[in-house]
Each structure stands twice: as C-alpha cells, then as structure tokens.
Amino acid sequence: MDYLTIIQILDSSVRLATPLLLTCLAGLFSERAGVVDIGLEGKLLIAAFLSGAAAAVTGSIWIGLLAGVAGSLAFSMIHGLASITFKGDQLISGVALNFLAAGLTVVVGQSWFQLGGRTPSLSGDGRFAPWNLPFSDAMAKIPVIGPAYDELISGHTALTYLALLAVPLSWWVLYRSRFGLRLRAVGENPSAVDTAGISVVRLRYAALVIAGVLCGLAGTYLASLAAGFVKDMSAGRGYIALAALIFAKWRPWYALWATLLFGLLEAIGNRYQSIALGDIVIPVQFMQALPYILTVIILAGFVGKAIPPRASGQSYVKER
C-alpha cells in the first residue's frame, strides 16, 4: 500500500464520516437533553429524500438543503410531540419514525418521479461543489505534504467543513453557554431544572430542533454525495451514529474521533471487497458487517464503560 492510497482512503473516510458526525452530534444534543433518538435513521432518510427531490426539481442543492432540513425538523417535532408532550415511549416513537421515512420516501418518490423510489440524478448545481482551499493546486506538487493537503484537507464540500466546525461549536454550546448547562442538566435531573423555574419541555424541544437541523444537513449531504436519492440510502447510518455516540460517551470531541473511525472502516470496506491475508480470505460480507460488529463490541463495553445521561429515555412528569 503506497502513500497515495493511504491518503485516498483517509480522504474517503472523511467523506463517509461527515454524515455520521452530523448525525452523531444530533443525537448528542437530543440525548444530552434526555430524549433518546432511535429515529435519527428516519430523519436522515427523509432529509435525503426531500433534499434530493427539491434539488432535482429546482436544480439547486441549497434549496434542497432547506427542504431536507424542513423534513428532518418535522420528524423531530413529531418525536417531540410523542415523547415530550404526550410522554410516550421514546424508543417506540423513534422506531415508528424510521418506518415512516422508509415507507413514505418510496411511496411519495414513486408518485412524484415514477423512478421506483429514486429521485432523478443530480448534477451541476444540484450537488455540493468541492471547495478547493487556497494554494491546493500549487501545493500539490510538494512531496508528502502536498498530496495530503490537496487530497485530504482540501476538496471537500461545504458541509464537511461545516460538520468539522460543528464539533468545537457543540462543545462550546454544551460546556460554555448557559443554554448548554441547562440542556445538560435537563438530561441528568429534570426536576432540578424545573424547580429552578426553567421549562423542561421547552429545553427538550430546543434540543430536538438542533437535532433536526443537524440530521437535515446530514441527509442532504448523503443525497448530494450519491447524486440523488436511492431507496433506503441511509443504510443504518443513523444507528451507527448512535453507536458512535455511545462510543464517544456523549462528548463532542470524542464523537469526531468515533465517527472518523467508523468512516475509515466503511472506506476500507468499500475499497477492498475482500481482503486476502495469506491463505485466509476475509469475505466481502464480513467487511460489510464490520461496522455493525464493531458497534456491538463497543456497546459490550470492552472499550470502557459508557454512562448515558441519567434521565435519558424518561419523559418528565411534573409533580403536582
């Protein structure tokens, strides 16, 4: 394996980690506020569909982005209605949303485009254009650092840089702002927050709004990357993001490393359909299942104990 191959694999790791990172941060805000969000997968899917559809019709991925975020937000609000307002089971609500997205995207997609659940493929302004950072062409000629800068650091789309920027931003919001303090408190001990005269309901809805926007960005990214929406294109990424969140122990910076790791795994799996190690050939099915296997191993706690926010998964019932 030469240097350029490594750079290319790392480059596609970043590409594949971007939607995971955005989704993982969405889950981070939601779960830190005490709302478990199995429905990340559904939000990704509905956002990918609506952004793909809007971008195909208007020819602009930025309008697609608006549509994707709107769809994801709507799903977030349904989740809020079920799990915050009506104090229903958060897991069941999330599962229902995942199925709703899986079904609606195909039924509506077929009705709109008659392409068997796909959207027309996107081209030109219908996709995010790569951003070439300054001097990337000039620096490409420098050995070692040049290709790394040109291939790996430069040339991603706006959303990748936005996702990377979202990490320190999330950290700052959660750990350095008053809103973040309250948000974390509501996930640990909602009755204390309530006693302080702050609305638990409003804070949890706010967290779901943030989660909705982030999932909307992630879904749009998927549609742009694949140049259109394909049935079930989220392919479990919402669940993997949840696993990354647990791996990251509900912390923004760790979320970045966790999702980069999952991105790397996917990139290796994509590049090498089957890997031969001496006489043993690792089959392609194993490479496909590897992110899920790793998730289980991580969840099994073999890499350290992960303690979720104390009040996550419980709806808050005000005392009378």
Binding site: I92, V95, N98, Y292
Partner: protein, 365 residues
C-alpha cells in the same frame, strides 16, 4: 386505577388509535393522487375476494403471529427486541440445515425437527444481545438492530458460499426433499370436500402458530416463569426483592423471543419457498413490533392484529399490481400503527380517561 373499565383499556383505546392511523394512511393515499376508498376496495377484494387471496393473507398472518409473539414475550419483560428480523433470518438457516440434512420420508417427522432447528438458531441469535444486556448493560435495542445487519450478512455469505447449488445462477439453497413438504391449505382441506386454491401458500404452519399462541398464553399467565417475566417487566427492583434473578429473566425471555421469531421460518422457508433465499423474511420481523403493540401483547390481540396485517400485506401487493402504489405503503401504515398505538397512546388515553371520569361522576350524583 379504576379510571376506566377494562374493556375500554383493552379494546376501545387500540381501536381508536388504529382508526386514527388508518385515517392518516388514507391521507397519504389521497396525497399521492389516488382514491382511498378505491384503494380499500381493491385491498379487500385482493385479500378476501378469493381463496387464493385468503391463502396469501393467512400465510402472511402466520409470519406475523410468530414475530408478534416474539416481540410480546420480550415486551412482558420490558425488553424491546427489534431483532426479530435477524432472528427469523437465522431461523431460516436452521430450518434449511435440518431440511437438507436428511432425505425426510414424511412431513410429520420433518416438521418437529425443523421447528427445533429454527427455534434453536433464532434463540442463539437472540442470546448474544440478551447476554450483553444482562451482564454488560449494552442497550438491547441497538445490539439487536446491529444483529439484524450482521445476520443478513452472515446468512448471505452462507447461501452464497456453502448452500448454493454449484453451477446455479440463483443465490439460493437447493430445494428441500419432497418429504419435507408441508401440507398446504389446499391439501389439508381437500379431504373435507372444501376446495381451496392450489397456489396459495398458507400451510400447516398456521396451525402451529395458533398452538404457539396458546402456549404463549399458558406460559405468560399460568406458569411461574411467566409470572417472573411479568414481575420483572413491571418493576425490576420489586422483582429483585422477591428473589428473581434479573439476568436470568432477561436471558430466558430473549431466548424464548428469539425462538419464536426463528419458528417463523417453518412458514416462509419450509412452507412456502421450500428452499432458502436471500432476504426471505421480508420485514416480517419488524411488523411483529406493530402487531405486538396493536395486540396489547396478548395472544388474542396478536392473532387479530396479524390477520389485519396479513390483509394489509396481501392487499398492498394487489394495490401495487393494479394501482401502481408501491408496496412500501404497508410500511407507512405499519409506522402509523406503531406511532399511534405505541408512542401516542396517551393522546387517546388521557381524554378518554377524563371522559369516563366525568361520566362516572355524573352517575354518582
């Protein structure tokens, strides 16, 4: 507790929730420019209009009874098993290995053996998430979802590399021996002079599913183990105090759950396809969630909900054929049913409770 009579809790609330879910399903059909009334007519005609339709409806219902019972057992122990899909996939592998291992002389011998094979493989696939939940506290919802993906990859690999007939273009196992053929409704009803469509896949497994429902009832409400499962589901701390070992209950409940999901394979793999194909479960494991929620985790409710979803599945296939509405419409309906009977339960329950309260007050006065 006596805010509402028992019948309102068991029947009225699910009924209202389902009606709301169906109303929104109708809105979806209307929104894509089709006529909901026409859609219902097509579905009813397709699912119940002929013995072939009925045969398909009952065939699908059989799958859903197994997966619904599977979800319900776990739910009584307050475990959310989303892994029915993977467990049923592995169950298919178990049934296939049993059916292909011996040239079975008669189905009466092959069926019990296949049931053991399917149940064992399904239970084994549920065991790892169960053990991880009981001993390491790994969230069973996420681990079972992961095991669905891993199971699909594993069985895909086994079909492609081990079970596939050499030289064949199809990614499927060899056909089961003739002695492993389960009687279909056509063959079962013919001796009684009832003619049933020959091509409908409903078979013997339907009766096994009904037996499983009865066994489920006995287990949950008439045995010590069932009592322990329910006690653990109601309150973990109270169960611990009563000397019930939580890890044991989690693992046993999940093993039973996985076994029931695995049993489904006698219907779809042994009864219908008579060979193992890729993605044989076709989402039946997930429908089990909707069925269990709708049926309030009771066998009678699960049976009725399974028939309803069998109707939706078969009717949905007819809709896809005649009206070109994709089959995924059933997934939408399934999602709405899960949402309204599961997560939005309080939306119906709270106003209804108030209504009953106001009513009973009036009576007293």
């Amino acid at each position: 507790m006596s805010k509402m009579p028992k019948w309102a809790d068991a029947i009225l609330i699910p009924l209202i929730s389902i009606l709301i879910a169906f109303f929104f399903s109708g809105v979806v059909i209307w929104a894509i420019g089709k006529d909901p009334i026409m859609a219902i007519k097509t579905m009813v005609q397709g699912a119940f209009g002929s013995t072939q339709g009925v045969g398909y409806t009952l065939y699908y219902a059989t799958n859903f009874i197994f997966t619904g019972l599977s979800v319900a057992v776990a739910y009584h122990a307050r475990l959310f098993n989303i892994g029915g899909e993977g467990q049923a996939t592995l169950g298919g592998l178990g049934v296939t290995l049993v059916c292909l291992s011996v040239p079975w002389p008669h189905w009466a011998l092959a069926l019990p053996a296949a049931m053991i094979g399917g149940a064992l493989f399904g239970a084994a696939w549920a065991f790892i998430p169960a053990w991880l939940q009981a001993k390491r506290g790994s969230h069973i919802v996420i681990t079972t979802i992961m095991f669905n993906y891993i199971g699909a990859a594993l069985v895909g690999y086994v079909i492609l590399n081990i079970l596939k007939v050499p030289g064949s273009m199809l990614t499927e196992s060899a056909r089961f021996p003739a002695g492993a053929h389960l009687p279909t409704f056509h063959e079962m009803l013919a001796p009684f002079g009832i003619s049933f469509n020959k091509n409908a896949p409903a078979n013997m497994s339907f009766l096994v599913a009904i037996l499983a429902s009865v066994a489920f009832y006995v287990l949950i409400w008439r045995t010590r183990l069932g009592y322990e499962i329910r006690a653990y589901g109601q309150s973990e701390s109270a169960a611990k105090y009563a000397g019930i070992n939580p890890a044991r209950i989690v693992i046993i409940a999940m093993l039973i759950s996985g076994a029931l999901a695995g049993l489904m394979a006698i219907n779809n793999v042994m009864g219908e396809a008579e060979r193992l194909i890729d993605n044989a479960v076709e989402g039946a494991g997930f429908i089990g969630i909707a069925v269990a929620l709708m049926g309030r985790n009771h066998p009678i409710g699960i049976f009725l909900a399974s028939i309803l979803f069998g109707f939706l599945y078969q009717g949905g296939a007819e809709l896809a054929f005649w009206e070109s509405i994709p089959r995924e419409l059933v997934v939408v309906i399934q999602a709405l049913v899960i949402m309204f009977t599961g997560a939005l339960d309080n939306m119906v329950r709270v106003p209804l409770e108030k209504l009953f309260l106001a009513f009973s007050k009036k009576k007293e006065a």
